[in-house]
Structure formats: C-alpha cells, structure tokens
Amino acid sequence: MTKRKMYFKMITASLMRRRSRMIVALLSIAIGATVLSGLVTIYYDVPRQLGAEFRNYGANMIFTANGDELLLDEVNQGVSYISDEQLVGVAPYRYENVRINEIPIVAAGTEIEGAKLTSPYWSVDGEWPSQSGEIMVGANVAENFRLKVGGDITVNYTPEEKETSDEVVVDNSIDFKITGILDTGGSEEDYVYMSLDDLQELTEDVGNISVAELSVSANSDELTAYADKINSNIPSVSARLVKRVTASETTVLTKLQALVLLVTIVVLALTMICVATTMTAVVAERRKEIGLRKAIGASDKSIIIEFVGESMLLGLLGGILGTVLGFVFAQEVSVNVFNSSISFRPLLVPITILASIAVTAISSLIPIRSATDVDPALVLKGE
C-alpha cells in the first residue's frame, strides 16, 4: 500500500517538478496521436466521401424493359431493392417523337427532381422546369429554333392510333414556357425535357418508361449484386450497369485510396519515430538521476518500472489529447473538402491511446536500459 502510494507520488512529483520538460514531451506525444487518429479516420472515410463525389459522373445503373413494357411502378419496385442510404437519385425517362414547328424532335418526360440528382453535370442556362407547362430545351434545339429562356413554344404530338385511321388527324398540342437551355456536350442537347405528367397529357396515355437512370453510391461489386437481385426478382425489368462509369470509378477510386493509405503510413511512421526520439532525449538527460538512485541502492527493476510508468502516464495523457485533436482535424478536413461531417469511429480511441502508450514506453526503455547498465560511478562522474 505505502509502496504503491510512494510509486505514484514519485511519478506525479517527477512530472510536476520538471513541468516545462514534460510539457514538451507531452506535446510531442499529442502530435503523434493527433496524426494517428486524424489520418486513420480520414483514410476510412475517404472512399465513402470520394465515392459520393464520383456520383458527379451521373447514373451508374439503368433499368430498361425486359420485353415490351416498363411501367413506373415496376421501376419503383426495382428501386426498393436498393438501400436508401446508397441511393443518390432515380430518374425515369420516357421518350416520344413530338414536333415543334412541324420539325420532329425527341421529347423526354422525366421526374425533374430525380434528373437533377442523376445528372448533376448538366449545365442549365436558366432554371430547371419546376411546374407543369414548363420545358427545358437542349442547346442544339434552342439554336436551331432560335429559342430563348422565357420564350414560349408549342409542342405537337400525333397520337399513333389516329395516324392510320381515315379521320382527319388532329394533333394534341400544349404551349410550354421555356425555363432553361441545357448544355451537356452530348446527345441530350438535341432533346427537350418536360415533366412526365406533361408528356402524359400531351400523348393522352400513360405509356411506358423507356429507361430509368439510377445513381447509386456503391462499388461495382455491390452494384452487380443489386442488378442480379433486381433482374431475378422483377422479370419485367432489366437492370444493367453503365460500364463506362462503374469500371472507371473502380480504377480511379482504388488508386486514390491507395494514395491516402501510403501517405498515412509514411506520415505515421515518421511521426512515431519523431515521438520516439523526443522521448529518448527526455529520458536520456536523466542519466544522473538514475545513477544516483542506483548508488543509494535502487534495483534496476524498480528504476525501469518507475521510468516506464512515468512515460506511460505521459503516453496516456498525450493519447487522450491526440484523439480529441485528431478527430477535430479529421472533421475540419471533411467539412472543408467534402462539405459533410465525418463518422466517429469509437474503436479508434483505444487504438490511439494504446499506440501512444506503447510508443512512449518502448522509446523510453532504450535510454533507461543503457543508463542502468552502466556503473553508477561512471554515470555520476558524467561520462
């Protein structure tokens, strides 16, 4: 009892008396622990965060009709197989041939909010359509018909069953207000976009969905699993991956992850060695004290236990400090880079603390060993 009390008294007293020196050591351990917990948190969070960035490339899965018909309900049924967390957006598209100024144009009906999410790279001059009676035209269509944002156009549609009949063909027509001009650099510039309901009103039937685009934040293995599940459970839907997007994402993401991993390892290794040298220096300067203790009869074991105990206490304090600072750092990085908060990993707390205790204990053991090995007379003499 008294022995243990004495032990703690010696450790705390030694820390308190040599305050400035110990603060230096504590600081360096805290830095090491900060780097450890900060970088490892970032390393684990980067795939998720960057994966979300890669959704900028748009849809990575499409549903098409497996057979003749694909109804909106079937699309939604397929979507329900994908977990809400991973699903970024769904946009069903229905394409119909319509006419503007008697020139045929492809009109696409979609759910505007979904299209915004699955095609974040679409650059719209003006606004996306937000209500019935509004339309967005592709840049090529706009140029061809000299259309401007805010202008009006009339879209005509000839219902199919009337084309073959002998009756006079009466077109359905709706007046639209142009809210935006779409620039994508792809074939989308040749189409006009309206809401699914407007297209339904124009064609006077419910109609099939031509294709549904899905943007899912998952890696290609998970995506393949989803596609297989949907294909086997819903016979009318054929789910396919957009190979260009999924294959490239896997390549690039793997590289980026490897980059962060390697950087983490290099930084960690160097920082840990730095901590170790500082600890070594702090302990090494106490050779005289060790010599004195040995001279008045302390055993090597008791000296080692005391010094290592002192270092471990420092390691514990530094580790706790570093865990907090590291999480703050990772959080800052995540907010600044990806605009989203980072997920806290409870497992990292004990790991960081244990690692910093281990590093400090091992790095102080070396100089203590060398000091206790030497004859106290030599140490005290200053050689």
Binding site: S20, R21, V24, A25, S28, I31, G32, T34, V35, L39, I42, L50, E53, N56, Y57, G58, P104, V106, S119, Y121, S123, N140, N144, T184, G185, G186, S187, D190, R240, K243, R244, V245, T246, A247, S248, T251, V252, K255, L256, A258, L259, L262, V263, V266, V267, L270, T271, C274, T277, T278, T280, A281, V282, A284, E285, E332, V333, N336, V337, F338
Partner: protein, 429 residues
C-alpha cells in the same frame, strides 16, 4: 578556439547530435515527400481520370445541329465531314502537350449478307503517330475505351498490317448474329463491300454493343468516304473551370486583351476547344460535360485533401523538431553554466550553441531531403506507376522550414539558459 569548441561538441557529443540530425532529417523528409506528392497529385489524378474517356468532342459545324434531328426519321449522315488529313494538327495547338489521346470516328451503315442492317464504326485502335516535335503517340479506342471488357479474343492491333481487314464486334450484335472470334463477316456498304475477320468481341455496356468497329480506312472504303471523318474524340488534361473560363466559354470576344491571354494560355477545357476549332476547318469542339465537369470536381477535392494532410504533417514535423531541439539545448545547462562561470559572454554562448545546432540541422536537412524525395517516388510508383516530378520550389520551402523551425526551437531554450545563474546551475539545482 570557437571552431575547436564546435568540433569538440560535434565529435564528443556525436550521439546526441546524431539524434538531433536524425529528427531533423525525419521532419525534412516528411515535408519533402508530402510537398512533392501534393504538388504532383493534380497531374497524376488527372491522368487517372482519363479512363472516363474523352472530355472534348469535335464535330463538323453543319452536322452539330442537324444530324441527330434527322436520325430520328431514319436518315443517317448529314453530308458534312471533317478532314482526316487535318487530324495531326490537333497535336500542334498551344496546349498540345495536354492532349493525351484522341481518335477519329466515321459511322457507316451497312448490311450483312442476310440483309440485316448494322452500324459500322471506323476508328483508330492503336494508331501510331510520329509528331513533328519528335514525340511518339499511340492513340485510339484501345486506350480511349478502357472500360470495354473484351469478352473473347483481343484488341485489334492496328500496327500489324495483316489486321487491315479485321473487326471488333459488340457483344449484343455478336450474340444476335452468332459471330465468334475468328469468323469472317461479309459487309456490304453503300458503295463497296469487304470481308472482315473478327479478332475480338467486346462488352461496352451501352449502345456500342450493337456496333462493329473496324480500322478507319476500311470503314471509309465501304462508303467511298476517303479522307472523311464524322467526329473526333479528344482526351485532354484540363484545369478546372473558374469564372473567367465560364465567361470565355460563352463568348471569347467579350474578354479584355489581358483576360483573353490568361484564358488562352490556361488549359481550361473551353480554351482547348477553342484552339482545336482554330486548326480543324469548319468544326465545333465542345466539352463533354459529364466528363469535363466531374473531373474538375474530383480533382479539386483530391488536391484540397492532400493540401490539408500536408499541412498537418508539416505542423507535426515542425513541432517534433522544435521539441527535440529545445530538450537537447536545455539538458546542457551545466555545461553552459560552467562556460559562464569562467567568464563567457551571453552572445558568445548563444553563438556557439546556435552554430552547433545549425551545422547539425544542415546535415540532417540534406539527408532528409533526399530521403523524402525517395519516399515520394515510392508513393508515386506504388500508386500511380509513374515517378513524381521534382518541383524546384520544394527545395526552398523545405530549407526555410528547417531553418525557421530550428531557430524557433532553440530560442526559448537559449533564453532560458542565459537567465541561469552559473552558481545555481553548477550547484546542481
């Protein structure tokens, strides 16, 4: 005497000095490695993002509006073409070095023997070019369609002339028509016909699965389109767009002279498009937003991430060095007390300590710099399979960092030592 004392310290206390040098070397190597990687990561990631394919398409001016519209009615070609003999000019524009890959395409509709209509695409596969600059480049769909999965056979090797009449067939078409690798298909074009040997079947996961890809000249011959191409896809390394680039993209003539020069001499996707239009007659070059914009976003994020990690490791390295220098100077209190007791001036003592530390710092800094460069190369080769370019600006940054950090680390310690009274120190308090 001064030098003898320094030499004395360095040799007699070499263990202590070695440890300081080692720590400084670690810090310097960390700084060098992180700075080199950070400065180069943009280029490297940009290269990786090239797997997404072209970020610029070039089409003839006339067809850019009409072709798609008429396609709706079943027609196919608009009658406007780009000239094949101008293709080499793309590699002569101001940003030629940023053009990593490009391929021309010509679309021909043809018939198989049983009357099935098929779409034949003529393009480069691994077309070899020797440029006037002496640079050599293999360009074509082999590298620009890196996401194609070759389900059987292999990529068409264009440089082997026995492959002039070979073809690669999309998976969907191959299944429909029962085509397999090694079989021959007879294709009847608008004017001529030809027999092709299938060398590979690919799965592109898109429209291209229904098409046949053949070498450019073979496709042109089918339809008497010698020297004509429909479109060019260009893959270029670009700088993410900013306000200036957006303004310029709308109308380059709205810029002032100095803005125009900045824009023209920066690798924005819009300025590269503009320069391509200048060299290819009657063409419209436009960015493929899906690729161009996303590239910019991902590039920015990765760079920012690396910058923040670099800052953390720089701070870590600086504090580490600082700590050790402070600790090692402070432990010499008795030595300094003795010097003061026999009459040394404060200036002389600080001069001595500082010189010792700096000599150690310089040695450590040099060693660390080269070690850090080595770390950067390891990272470059493991992750990207190419070496990290050495940026000259890393050298002064690391040098300044080491000097400042060493100074800051030693100043408080020295000041504390100078305040010491020799008698107290020597007495052992």
């Amino acid at each position: 005497m001064f030098f003898r004392m320094i030499r004395g310290t360095l040799f007699r206390q070499w263990k202590k000095m070695l440890m300081i040098a080692f720590t400084i070397a670690l810090g310097a190597s960390l700084a060098t490695a992180m700075l080199s990687v950070m400065l180069d990561v943009g280029d490297k990631v940009n290269q990786e993002l090239k797997t997404y394919g072209a970020n610029i398409t070039v089409v003839p001016k006339e067809s850019s509006v009409l072709s798609e519209l008429y396609e709706v009615e079943g027609g196919e070609s608009s009658g406007a073409y780009l000239r094949e003999d101008e293709l080499g000019k793309i590699k002569t524009i101001f940003w030629a070095f940023n053009i990593v890959d490009y391929a021309p395409f010509v679309n021909v509709s043809a018939e198989l023997d049983d009357g099935t209509e098929i779409a034949v695409v003529g393009s480069w596969f691994n077309h070899h070019m020797e440029l006037p600059t002496g640079e050599q480049l293999d360009a074509g769909v082999t590298s620009m369609r890196s996401w194609w999965e070759i389900s059987s056979g292999e990529w068409l090797d264009e440089q082997n002339h026995s492959n002039d009449n070979s073809a690669m067939v999309g998976k969907a078409l191959a299944e429909k028509e029962n085509i397999s690798v090694g079989s021959t298909i007879h294709i009847k074009g608008n004017t001529n016909d030809n027999t092709f040997t299938v060398v590979g079947i690919f799965d592109a996961g898109g429209d291209e699965d229904d098409k046949i890809f053949v070498p450019l000249n073979a496709a042109q011959a089918l339809s008497d389109l010698d020297g004509c191409i429909d479109s060019i896809e260009v893959s270029a390394l670009t700088t993410p767009d900013n306000e200036l680039a957006e303004k310029a993209a709308k109308d380059p003539s709205s810029l002032t002279v100095s803005q125009y020069e900045t824009w023209y001499c920066t690798a924005y996707v819009s300025s590269i498009c503009y320069q391509i239009q200048e060299v290819i007659t009657d063409s419209v070059a436009s960015p493929v937003r899906q690729v161009a914009d996303s590239e910019g976003a991902i590039l920015e994020k990765t760079q920012l991430l690396m910058i923040l990690i670099t800052i953390l490791s720089l701070i870590g390295a600086a504090l580490g060095i600082c700590n050790l220098v402070t600790a090692s100077v402070m432990e010499r209190s008795s030595e300094i007390g003795l010097m003061k007791a026999i009459g040394a001036q404060n200036g002389a003592v600080s001069g001595l300590v500082l010189t010792e530390i700096f000599i150690t710092a310089i040695i450590g800094g040099f060693a660390g710099f080269f070690a850090g460069f080595g770390f950067a190369q390891i990272i470059g080769h493991t992750v990207f399979g190419s070496s990290i370019t050495m940026r000259p600006m890393v050298i002064p940054i690391v040098a300044v960092l080491v000097v400042i950090v060493t100074l800051i680390g030693s100043i408080p310690a020295i000041r504390m030592l100078l305040r010491l009274r020799p008698t107290e120190v020597l007495h052992g308090r």
